[in-house]
């Protein structure tokens, strides 16, 4: 095997390969997938000298440890966490050189949920429908990382960025999600719509790449039953029978039968990806642009 490869020493709780995802196939039932905190993934790619579409690693809460077979430049961003190379502290949010065979340890997040690890050349697993992203809903793309797995790396295309530390937004202490109401807000009572846009929810521990689940006051329906299945978008706030809103994230199903009360604006979704369980959530209604 080529030495452009990365050995997985510690896979962590859930580490997946992610890029910009595979939009454009929703009509076939294929989720878009892709990095949940896309700005963080783009930033670490830029720091490592990769193009925006290069595949990175997305960790969950407790990081991962990797051993490159040849010297690489890496950059770690997203959820802030300790970074060590060969046991010595290294920078978070900046390009870091990792010698061949040295251990890169991406530690547990100090705050936030998902750290991103870009490696010069990008993770070069075989693309599926134009993307290397792991899709946890439908199982497309590479499986989540396992201990002792080996990931192929691409060839670096450019020099890493010349910065010391790049500024990144802190994970949210309170998650404020701006929503436009509809398309199915009329399936809820006016009191439920007021509850939705005025009360505080909390991020549920059952959240994942498919959806940010919440705990809080249940939303009462004006109409019973289910809709015939209809297409849903990224950021849709679907309300299942338990009445607790679920915000659809990148691996969301392409169609659904529970009513969508509102849609979260795309610019608020990266923060949703970094909100730990228990974080207060407020849905703030805004007018459509």
């Amino acid at each position: 095997m080529t030495d452009r490869a990365l050995a997985v020493v510690r896979a962590g709780a859930l580490t997946t390969v992610q890029d910009l995802g595979r939009p454009g196939h929703a009509h076939l039932g294929v989720p878009r997938s892709g990095a949940l905190d896309a700005p963080a993934a783009l930033l670490v790619n830029r720091l490592a000298g990769n193009p925006p579409e290069a595949a990175v690693l997305e960790t969950t809460l407790n990081g991962c440890a990797l051993r490159p077979r040849s010297a690489v430049t890496v950059a770690v961003g997203g959820a802030p966490c300790p970074v060590t190379v060969g046991g010595r502290p290294a920078a978070w949010g900046a390009p870091v050189r990792v010698p061949a065979g040295a251990l890169l340890d991406v530690g547990a997040a100090f705050s936030g949920v998902r750290s991103y690890v870009a490696v010069s050349g990008g993770i070069a697993v075989e693309p599926v429908l134009g993307s290397r992203s792991t899709d946890l809903l439908s199982g497309l793309g590479p499986p989540p990382l396992t201990d002792d797995a080996v990931l192929p790396l691409g060839h670096p295309v450019g020099p890493h960025a010349r910065v010391d530390v790049a500024p990144q937004p802190a994970p949210p202490a309170e998650l404020v999600l701006h929503v436009t109401l509809g398309p199915r807000d009329d399936w809820f009572t006016p009191a439920a719509v007021r509850t939705f846009t005025s009360r505080t929810y909390r991020v549920s521990a059952a959240s994942n790449r498919i959806g940010l689940r919440t705990e809080g006051p249940a939303l009462e329906r004006a109409l019973p039953g289910e809709l015939p299945s209809e297409g849903v978008v990224l950021g849709a706030v679907q309300v299942p029978p338990d009445g607790r809103p679920v915000v659809f994230l990148a691996d969301h199903p392409t169609t659904g039968g529970y009513p969508v009360i509102a849609v979260v604006g795309a610019s608020d979704l990266p923060a949703a990806a970094q909100a730990v369980p228990g974080t207060p959530v407020r849905f703030v209604a805004v007018r459509r642009r």
Partner: protein, 217 residues
């Protein structure tokens, strides 16, 4: 026809029937192919078409409201033939719902021209319409934890083929060996919205496999 705004750059167009949704879908695809419509996703479903990633949702909503997007009959497309063994574990139950015997279920099903109304549930899973309404069947009371790949199944007004093994609550009437989904193939999905489908009976008609719990639950 009603165009509901979805977020800032999507529209959910609601129509009154599945046929109308298919015709609207065909017209929207035609417009996109002509370069008259800039949109990232066109997702048909039971009675809606979702347009996501629209350059100008307000203008399109106005055009739809003014009746300037007349649904057109879908173009005649090539028919995909799927050889099927009518050997599913729910064949007898479906025959009872239909008030016919198992042989007749196979004859009616294989004698119907289906059309993929929309896809969802899993990559490459098509919701096929074509059977008359009197042949609608309910889902199973208890879903199976594993339905094998290639299972031909019925639920409500739809026929579907499981592209790979997954949990499922549909009534299983047969099996096909044809690969429905292969990401390495172009196109990956054998069935996409608008595809016409014929099931071709192969082998004898007989129920095999566990029909479910032996005693009433």
């Amino acid at each position: 026809m009603r165009a509901l705004p979805v977020g800032n750059d999507a529209l959910l167009v609601e129509v009154s029937s599945g046929e109308e949704a298919q015709a609207l879908h065909a017209e929207l695809l035609r417009r996109r192919a002509e370069g008259a419509l800039s949109v990232r996703e066109i997702v048909p479903a039971a009675r809606t078409v979702l347009l996501d990633g629209l350059a100008d949702p307000v203008r399109l909503a106005a055009e739809l409201a003014a009746g300037e997007v007349p649904p057109t009959p879908p173009r005649a497309r090539e028919v995909v033939e799927l050889p099927v063994r009518y050997d599913g574990p729910d064949l007898t139950d479906v025959a009872a719902h239909w008030g016919v015997d198992e042989q007749e279920v196979a004859r009616i099903h294989a004698g119907t021209e289906f059309r993929v109304a929309f896809c969802g549930f899993a990559p490459g899973f098509g919701y096929l319409t074509g059977l008359p309404q009197r042949y609608d069947v309910p889902r199973r009371a208890t879903p199976r934890t594993a339905v094998p790949a290639g299972a031909v199944a019925l639920a409500g007004p739809y026929t579907g083929v499981y592209p790979r093994s997954s949990p499922g609550g549909w009534q299983l009437i047969g099996t096909t060996d044809t690969g429905l989904w292969d990401p390495a193939r172009v196109p990956a999905a054998l069935l996409s919205p608008g595809t016409r489908v014929h099931f071709v009976q192969v082998g004898p008609v007989r129920q095999t496999g566990a029909a479910g719990p032996a005693v009433a639950e």
